[in-house]
Symmetry: C2
Subunit: 116 residues, 2 copies
């Protein structure tokens, strides 16, 4: 089955796509921007800039960070941060479901060079 | 209303996205690879390579070209070429329709920096 990737272009010109969404999800999973960045093989700075861009798009905090303390800092998503990732994955899932016949038709016509 | 862009990753590793689909549509509209390339502001060579990649993905002719004659050459889509573009646009349309509530919810949370 082919995979789908969706990019959303908002009216203000900002974009939401798989990279930013995955980053949000990994911050939630790992509890750390640094670990999330490492899993995506990107620099901490790159991850931080992407998250800044996201918060700029939505004009609200999507991530809460704590510094120091016993847990040595860490990060988690705000409710809106979690909501945005979930909405994106929902759109993706609905597309896959609604278009599975079309996708299979396209796939059927492709060559099969590489097995995965 | 936000815009959606869909990219399909086939099992063989090849991709189908908005650029290749638009190119097919413009060849159909203009009857010429050169004119289609010009409308997309890309070189003829770039357009030709994209179309070669597409035909390689689908292992069948998607475009028929005629050289010389009164019409001075020209290009048109094969039935499969037209079908692929139509299937892609169908998936796009179904996604927009099926996800309009989610998209509006996301849009509602964005800032409105630029009017379009």
């Amino acid at each position: 089955m082919p995979r789908l990737t969706i990019r959303i272009d908002f009216d203000n010109g900002d974009q939401l796509g798989p990279g930013k969404v995955r980053l949000l999800e990994l911050v939630a999973e790992t509890g750390s921007i640094r670990k999330a960045a490492a899993q995506m093989k990107m620099s901490y700075r790159k991850a931080w800039l992407l998250l800044q861009a996201l918060e700029n798009t939505f004009q609200e905090s999507l991530i809460v960070t704590a510094t120091g303390g016993r847990a040595g800092g860490g990060a988690r998503l705000t409710p809106l941060g979690a909501r945005i990732a979930a909405l994106y994955r929902g759109i993706e899932a609905k597309t896959l479901k609604g278009s599975s016949t079309d996708l299979r038709t396209l796939e059927k016509h492709t060559s099969h060079k590489r097995l995965r």
